[in-house]
Amino acid sequence: MAELKTHTFDAVIVGAGGAGLMAALYASKSANVAVISKLYPTRSHTGAAQGGVGAALGNAEEDKWEWHAYDTVKGSDYLADQDAVDVMCKDAIDTIIELEHMGLPFDRFPSGKISQRRFGGHTNNETGKPVQRACHAADRTGHMILQTLYQQCIKHDVNFFDEYHVVDLIRVDDTVRGIVAIEIATGDYHIFHAKAVLFATGGWGRCWEVTSNAHSLTGDGTAVCLRRGVPLEDMEFFQFHPTGIFRLGILITEGVRGEGGVLINNEGERFMERYAPSIKDLASRDVVSRAIYLEIQAGRGINGKNYVHLDVRPETVNYYLEQAGESRRIDREYIESKLPDIADFTRTYLGVDPVSEPMPIQPTAHYAMGGIPTDVDGRVRANEADGIVQGLYAAGEAACVSVHGANRLGTNSLLDLVVFGKRSGMHMAAYCQKAELLPLPENPAAEVMAEFERIRNGSGGIKSTDLRTRMQKSMTKNVGVFRTAELIQEAVNDLKELREQYDRNIQIDDKGKRFNTDLLEAWELGCLLELAEVTAVSALARTESRGGHAREDFPKRDDVNWLKHTFCYREADGQYRLAYRPVTLGRYEPKERVY
């Protein structure tokens, strides 16, 4: 039997990306906090975010947080909760300044202020024109946020447990008692007994074949919550970013289009002019991804293949700037200084120099709008009414506040991390001040340890990689940019069979204890399979098209029946049950969405 160690803290934060680290900084001010990550914190996928973080600083031109809020609500296809959006867009300004005060090396305008650029869906609400709202550090803004927050955590002596893999939540009725983790290097089990637990474990783009997401983005925290009775909100809304590198899915930031880059089909046409006459290539991501897909379907992919071009060559950009009557012009040096990583990626992986050639791109599975349901302080909802699981928190991509609704605007994910990471951390610290440390139940690790032993000793001859590949293919084909009842049903059937195979026949090679990634990857696959199922089940029920959920059989948005959040529960028998919660509206009445 593996060894079992117990630690006691006020609070445990699971995941050390932007949300987890921001929460850690705040919670650690008054509480004894452990930050647990299956990676070294600086490996977290926040570091892959590129183009910028949105805040109406108004450093370049007039801007207001209310405009940012409206753009976010419109981008969400009116599914975001407007009270939460207000909190995020208003808090954005102070939070970005705070990051700068932590040393974050933003790019600068000649005035010495933080440089801002255009991004999809962000507008001046009076003119309808794109506004410069994305604060950025070249095209590695996420990297700089992650590094800066980690640096500050070191400065403030935050307790880290690096390369500990959290595999279960200890929940008793509507309270939490801690988590169970595996120390990867030794294979030992650890119990972290705590008053409060925060999950900031990121997304699950690895459910799909072509994704911008890291291999480690397997939705562990979200799946663990689901297994422990927490419903998952709006899981049918998963964002396909329009511009992933062809075949590889590596993200090419929307900042490329913010700087003037355009999408071009096989006929040399800037096709977004037809789909979004007003802001064209800077329409919301769902709109652009669908446009690319439709161009490819109509045979206008490059050389008839399933990709189009993203063109940021100075001559192209300057041509369209001139057409638009703008005086700005760009050159090679500008691209090298504003988009250095993008240039490096396409040169490395495609042998394409974006200064002299257009880049082949296709939509790539990118971001989970849905997740663990929370209020604006990160407190996890116990149900579709107003119930709360005491001491349980979630923040970042793992969570659904909901500020992104049916489609997230670019720059709002980094903003979500820092704003709600901070709010969760503060609330959790206050909670720990007054809450008692409740006792652990008997053998709190027994169930998950038994599951690991089942996987370790399985002899059914089915490899993780086979199940994972089949899941990814089915999700890509059936629960992708466009969906129908027939396709989604196929995914539901596939996933049910895959889960049965997983439960009965999974077999791994590595039977050892130490650094057993074969075992942990197999367990992660179990998380992905469940999240894929929840996604498909939620998508099948929603008979309308809204934001990232585009049903060919129900092409219109249906506010009469569907202006509501999905809550999906996993029942004891493994079946899924759906319930719904009304959207919180506010200043902005739902209306048709035109870009």
Binding site: E100, G103, G112, D509, R514
Partner: protein, 240 residues
């Protein structure tokens, strides 16, 4: 194409000493990365093969390893870069980075590396925020002064390619100096003096023999040797 890959293997539970594992992988695309090939070995042939990886596109810093004798990120090294032009075969040799204890296969103990990182006060120091409550002002020129060293992803490719680090693990190493540089040359920061004390001591920058291994190894193309030289310059001149 066909790839023959030779991997340095060590399982602490079954091996007394490291050994070589040899594998053949077919139908590899020249544009596949070494990480893709390692994944094919792990997923299709031998699940016990152990390595760290996450983002798979060169930004998380998990998969620095020694590939055909030089430190690189496996995910950023394409098979086409290794194969002879025109050949439909490639030979790849992969070992863990040097100078850190091997935990299992390609996984090394990163703690000494991060201890050096922590020793240089790798965080911003300045509590005198502007009276208007807004951002510190910094000119684009001042910002450009330390741009290169903000790119570091702490992959350890530089430090573990450095002969001075191999010779003495107490040497703070290029990666930690890069971090110190990032703050020393930031016009907003106020703790340069303390950092210079750390990198100026006997296990600091003077151990650097400028052989450029670090610069060549950096997957982010940071001019590491130049950054170290700039820090040496500050120490020699006594001002930034």
């Amino acid at each position: 194409m066909q790839v023959h890959i030779r991997i340095r293997r060590f399982n602490p539970e079954t091996d007394n000493k490291p050994r070589w594992g040899e594998y053949t992988v077919n139908d590899v695309n020249p544009t596949d990365s070494v990480l893709d090939v390692l994944h094919r070995v792990k997923w299709e042939q031998d699940g016990t093969l152990t390595l760290r990886r996450s983002c798979a596109h060169g930004v998380c810093g998990s998969d620095a390893m020694r590939i055909n004798g030089a430190n690189m990120l496996a995910c950023k090294t394409l098979v086409s870069r290794i194969a002879k032009p025109g050949s439909d075969q490639a030979k790849i040799q992969v070992e863990p980075i040097l100078g850190l204890r091997v935990i299992k296969d390609l996984v090394v103990d990163m703690d000494p590396f991060f201890d050096h990182y922590r020793s240089v006060l790798p965080y911003f120091v300045n509590d005198n925020v502007p009276a208007d409550g807004r951002e510190f002002r910094q000119s684009p020129e001042d910002r450009a002064r330390f741009d290169d060293t903000t790119k570091c992803i702490l992959c350890a490719a530089c430090t573990t390619s450095c002969p001075s680090f191999w010779a003495n693990e107490k040497y703070v190493g290029p990666a930690a100096i890069v971090q110190a540089h990032r703050f020393i040359f930031d016009s907003r920061d106020q703790a340069a003096e303390e950092r210079l004390k750390v990198v100026g001591d006997s296990f600091g920058v003077w151990r650097c023999r400028t052989n450029f291994n670090c610069t060549n190894a950096c997957p982010r193309e940071i001019e590491v040797t130049k950054a170290i030289a700039e820090v040496k310059g500050v120490l020699a001149r006594g001002k930034i």
